[in-house]
């Protein structure tokens, strides 16, 4: 009985030693898994965009080369490399109150967040970031 208790105690210690780094990794590691896959504030999925905002203004925050090769139909380019040159066309095409949806290369790409943040300052309409970016839009077209 004593040996079983000792074994259980050792098992508990082992488990505790493993759990601490595992939890720390799960919470703090920059590349931690996103178990919930939740939508962050200001984000929108392709499905929700198509369902609710078919008249939205698409903004492509990728670099000029990527935009030139392929983009969401009707999208306008806007990135912070050429902000002042590209912004006038966006403001002219953006009807008051209508949403703008910004996308870039991937989920890890930050350009869409940066562009969305600056666009919100103009107060023309709601601004969303497309969850999953361009790959998510491409994948949705194949369904």
């Amino acid at each position: 009985m004593t040996r079983i208790r000792a074994a259980l105690r050792q098992f508990a210690i082992l488990a505790a030693l493993a759990i601490v780094p595992a939890v720390a990794t799960g919470l703090l590691h920059p590349k931690r898994s996103n178990f919930t896959d939740r939508i962050r504030e200001g984000e929108i999925t392709v499905a929700d965009a198509m369902r609710n905002w078919s008249d939205c203004l698409w903004i492509d925050a990728r670099t000029a080369g990527y935009f030139a090769s392929q983009h969401v139909p009707g999208a306008l380019p806007l990135n912070e490399d050429a902000w002042a040159d590209l912004l006038p066309a966006v403001l002219q095409a953006w009807p008051t109150g209508r949403p703008a949806i910004v996308y870039c290369d991937s989920q890890a790409c930050e350009a869409s967040e940066d562009v969305a943040k600056r666009l919100r300052e103009f107060g023309v309409g709601p601004v969303f970031v497309l969850k999953g970016g361009w790959p998510a839009w491409l994948a949705a077209q194949k369904k």
């Binding site: 000792a6 050792q10 590691h29 590349k31 403001l91 930050e110 350009a111 940066d114 103009f122 023309v124």
Partner: protein, 218 residues
Amino acid sequence: MNARLIFLPLLFFNPDAQAALKWERLRADLAPGPKEKSIEARFPFVNEGTTTVTIESLKSSCGCATAALDKKVYAPGEKGEVRARFDIGQRRGLQTKTIAVKILNEPTATILTLAVAIAEPMKLQPALVVWEKGEAGKPKVMTLAALPGQPIRAVKVTSTDPRMHTTVETGKDGESYTINVTPESTEMAGFATLTIEAETAGTTQTLRAYAQIKPAAQ
């Protein structure tokens, strides 16, 4: 406690799984000057392990940041560095970008952070004024505010559309300026880019603002 338990933590410590690269720093805080178009940071490292380290890839979180290495394979004791370059473009404010360094046979990447504080020597609010087509063409106001201790000395506004008129009023001690924008008429939709040149802290800064007469809401 059983003395053998003292060695239990060793079960979780696999030297091969430890990053053999020791980095001099993982974050670079940079403050480019007003005329710089790009800025670089170096992230030196040394292979403190007993085996060769191969850097598989460097992946940036932004097209504005690139990273380079002289080579990919580092012998024990060998030093190297990741050279990161951030293109300022027309970015502003604090820009935090990362470079993921993926090492062969290591499960997670090492994250290098570039924190670039791009100075904004003055603030313009709002940067867009809008009239609806047919609306009374009353003046709309933009305010240009200086940073504390950095007064604005001269402000000049030009418009791409001569029908969009502007006047500038100087505030107290150059701390702020009021820019009044008035359309000649709102009968036609139109759009003007306003270029605002202002002198502060010994340099001439250029800001852009926009004035628009929009078609009536559909």
